[in-house]
């Protein structure tokens, strides 16, 4: 006789691969927009990232003598590579994508024991590693739609190591930081480089998926509507960036940019909706996710404003990842019939009239 099945004898129509597929679907608009902005090199870089992640994960699973197929089919490795690709400069050489993807799925995830076990967001860990190890390649940006090369010429950009000097430019955050070092104030630094409307549409230098703030937001709202993520971490992260920005901007508008500038530049949108909501590395409870998101936002602002790096999302997320076990330890839901401390609630005596 087959062993008895335990209740429940029904299951919601959900699975890990379905969740991952939905998240990827939410990324499609922003990714396609990125491809359109930055051309074939971006397509190649994205493809190389995904292939490297799949190949690397398969190889490592095989070394561990674990089943390869279910782990690859859950889609988490592909999603990690996708998110990493969106955070890379679109014209970066192919090996940046390969090294980053392999680091993400192998060191970032499999070393910890595979899906669900990693402490740090693998994509952000890989981005931080790349940024520290290859600062030049990781900060060479192209302005969008500037004489996009053709399909074949693009191969030379991604795989041939063609120099980008002719077209390279700094990202907005990097540009402002550099101008500050030259003693210019914010207004001068921003003139001709920034308009909120442009930022919204993504027509500026930046990484593949960071620039299209509006489409990222759209994807995030889609995920909330599909109940893949909740609003807590994203809203808290956006607030964590916007509130100090507003405060500092009020204090000294000549030096500190306003909230819109911060929300629409760099990886804040991508971070809020797709990175801070990573289930594995974020807290379990709604309250914990609020604290986590707020921490991500505040740290991002602090690193951007007073740190050495122009962009801080990846560092902020990793720092908060490290704090997640602690948040989970202290922020727990109240158990029915008990106080927050776990003591039994005092009985409310019988009332004469019901509520």
């Amino acid at each position: 006789m087959t062993p008895l099945a335990h209740s429940p004898h029904a299951h919601a129509p959900t699975s890990v691969s379905r969740i991952m597929a939905t998240v990827m679907l939410a990324l499609v608009p922003a990714t396609l927009f990125g491809f359109w902005l930055y051309g074939w090199p971006a397509v190649y870089l994205w493809t190389v990232s995904l292939l490297a992640a799949v190949a690397g994960e398969a190889a490592v699973l095989r070394l561990q003598q674990r089943a390869v197929k279910p782990a690859l089919l859950d889609g988490s490795g592909v999603l990690t590579a996708w998110l990493l690709a969106l955070s890379l400069p679109p014209w970066a050489p192919w090996w940046i994508a390969v090294v980053g993807s392999l680091f993400a799925v192998i060191v970032g995830k499999q070393v910890f024991g595979g899906i669900g076990q990693n402490v740090f967001n693998p994509a952000m860990a890989a981005r931080v590693m790349l940024l520290i190890s290859f600062p030049l390649e990781m900060t060479t940006w192209v302005p969008p739609m500037s004489q996009l090369p053709g399909m074949l010429d693009s191969l030379a950009v991604t795989f041939g190591g063609t120099q980008l000097d002719a077209v390279s430019s700094a990202s907005l955050l990097g540009h402002v930081k550099t101008e500050f070092t030259r003693g210019l104030d914010l207004q001068q630094a921003l003139s001709g480089h920034y308009s909120p409307l442009q930022a919204l549409w993504g027509e500026r230098s930046g990484s593949l998926g960071e620039t299209a703030a509006l489409l990222i937001l759209l994807g995030g709202v889609f995920l909330i509507a599909r109940r893949i993520i909740t609003w807590h971490a994203p809203v808290a992260m956006l607030a964590g960036v916007a509130l100090p920005a507003l405060l500092m901007n009020l204090i000294d508008p000549g030096h500190y940019a306003g909230p819109l500038y911060h929300l629409l530049s760099g990886g804040v949108m991508l971070g809020a909706f797709f990175i801070a909501t990573d289930p594995v590395t974020s807290p379990n409870t709604a309250a914990g996710q609020l604290a986590f998101g707020l921490g991500c936002g505040l740290l991002t602002y602090v690193i951007r404003t007073w740190g050495a790096y122009p962009e801080g999302v990846a560092f902020a997320v990793m720092l908060m990842n490290a704090a997640t076990p602690m948040i989970d330890r202290y922020v727990k839901p109240r158990i029915y019939g008990r106080t927050r401390k776990g003591d039994i609630l005092a009985a409310q005596p019988a009332k004469k009239d019901a509520a």
Binding site: P8, H9, T285, I335, G337, L345, K352, D353
Partner: protein, 499 residues
């Protein structure tokens, strides 16, 4: 906590109802089978003691098993016929182990015992109502099968202000409560008023999920001008969990490790109210119940009024048999019911449904690693962290799981239902609860053994001491005797010498 947040149910899931297939046809009487297998334990508590002999003729409603002990319920003959055997028969329990059962061969006449019907049921004394409910073998028909009299008695003594009648029926597929509310609303309302009188509750509230508009309308019509209030509650699982129902209707929270009576609330199921009315107003003990027969593999899903003791196979047959290969047969609802081991097991008082589910309905998948998505945390109506508890249980750290609230888990299955990794979370929790129980039993046994050993050594010591004392006493007596004899001899010698 604000008033509004108190009224809002926590957690919960929205499983596909799948109720339509059985909800729209009227309750049908289940034809009598050739044999009825009536288990002596159909309730929580001590099994009933058989009071009939093999070969004896019985009438419908005749007592065949008397309740024994504080928590128990009597069992009655479902129809008239002969007792052909009293012995073991597979019980509707996950173990499938046999249990003491009275087997009755119906004579087909269905003659009832003479009913003891009070002239005015609503003039009965409260304790008399409870006693009659107890004598009729009424137990909670929502599935828990707790003897209703025990609850009525305890609530009358401790005092409750509100009687809540649970018409939630949040389990998918099940429509037996829905149907009974649509078809027998007047009887249910009478039963509610009788119970209200039995416990002296000022208010009586019926909570019905808003996915049953016909039942709501029927109950509202029947309850008009009776003081019984009918209220719609949001359809969600587990709305039928009595503490959830209390929360939503009254905004009161039952403290942990307590019963609802502790905050002045008594909760009964709608079908129980019907059974109470039958027992008091018609003098009919509980010998049948409404059972939902449903699932994708059942040809004609329906609600049947089934004499207790009818084998489950007969229910499937009465519904046209299977039209697809059932992947799993389930007793009860899909969320908390258990898999059937044999279709020969009988319908008992707590059987709300028998299901035959197809593979696609169950949604079988292999368990995968936890991705910490915390869907289970959001789904848990109790406010637990199922993923963390399961992780502790996997490493056999039961103490840590208890610290996380394992003992507050109600086993509703919401967490397992939503888990994208298909982790059998409830299975882990029930395993751990079983382990804890075994450990507690082991500890008790160990303590009992220790106590027995200590008592034995004390007894042995006492016996040895008493033996020594007796020996000493004997020796002293002997010495005294000898001394007396010597003295007597000496005295005799002296007398002789002097003589």
């Amino acid at each position: 906590m604000s008033f509004l947040s108190r009224l809002k149910p926590r957690g919960g899931v929205h499983p596909e109802g799948r109720k339509a297939s059985s909800a729209d046809t009227a309750i049908r009487a289940m034809p009598l089978q050739q044999r009825l297998y009536v288990p002596l334990q159909q309730h929580i508590g001590a099994p009933a003691k058989p009071v009939v002999r093999v070969g004896e003729k019985v009438l419908a409603g005749q007592l065949i098993g008397a309740g024994q002990g504080n928590i128990s319920a009597p069992v009655h003959a479902p129809t008239s016929g002969w007792v052909t055997a009293i012995g073991d028969h597979p019980a509707p329990h996950p173990s499938g182990l046999p249990a003491a059962t009275v087997i009755i061969e119906p004579d087909g006449e269905g003659r009832w015992i003479e009913a003891d019907v009070p002239a005015d049921p609503f003039a009965l004394a409260p304790d008399d109502i409870a006693a009659r409910v107890g004598a009729a073998g009424v137990v909670g028909l929502g599935g828990a099968a707790f003897p209703s009299m025990v609850k009525l008695d305890a609530s009358r003594k401790s005092g409750v202000d509100t009687l809540i009648i649970n018409g939630g029926e949040c389990e998918p597929y099940l429509t037996c409560d829905d149907r009974i509310m649509r078809e027998r609303a007047a009887e249910i309302v009478s039963g509610i008023r009788l119970m209200q009188r039995a416990v002296g509750a000022a208010n009586a509230l019926v909570g019905i999920e808003d996915n049953k508009p016909e039942a709501l309308a029927a109950m509202r019509a029947a309850a008009a001008a009776t003081g019984v209030e009918i209220r719609a509650v949001p359809a969600m699982y587990p709305m039928g969990w009595e503490k959830q129902m209390i929360q939503v209707l009254l905004g009161r929270e039952v403290p942990a490790e307590s019963r609802s009576a502790d905050i002045g609330v008594l909760v009964h199921n709608v079908a129980t109210a019907w059974a109470v009315q039958q027992a008091i107003c018609l003098g009919r003990p509980l010998v049948s119940r409404i059972v939902t027969v449903s699932g994708g593999a059942v040809a004609q899903p329906a609600n049947l009024e089934v004499p207790l003791g009818t084998p489950v196979q007969a229910l499937y047959d009465a519904c046209g048999g299977f039209n697809a290969r059932p992947a799993r047969l389930v007793l009860g609802g899909p969320m908390m019911g258990h898999q059937l081991t044999h279709t020969s097991v009988p319908v008992v008082k707590g059987t709300s449904g028998v299901l035959a589910l197809t593979q696609s309905e169950i949604g079988l998948t292999q368990p995968a690693p936890c991705i910490r998505c915390s869907s289970c945390v959001r789904a848990c109506p109790v406010g637990l962290l199922p993923l963390e508890m399961a992780a502790r249980i996997r490493t056999d750290d039961l103490a840590a799981a208890v610290a996380l609230g394992l003992k507050d888990c109600i086993g509703c299955g919401s967490c397992s239902y939503v888990c994208p990794s298909s982790i059998p979370l409830v299975h882990y929790f029930n395993y751990a609860k079983g382990e804890l129980m075994a450990q507690a039993r082991g500890k008790l046994k160990q303590e009992a053994t220790k106590k027995l050993a200590a008592e034995r050594s004390a007894r042995m010591e006492r016996i040895a001491r008493e033996r020594e004392e007796a020996a000493a006493a004997r020796k002293a007596a002997k010495e005294a005797r000898e001394a007396a004899a010597k003295e007597a001899a000496a005295r005799a010698a002296t007398t002789e010498a002097t003589a």
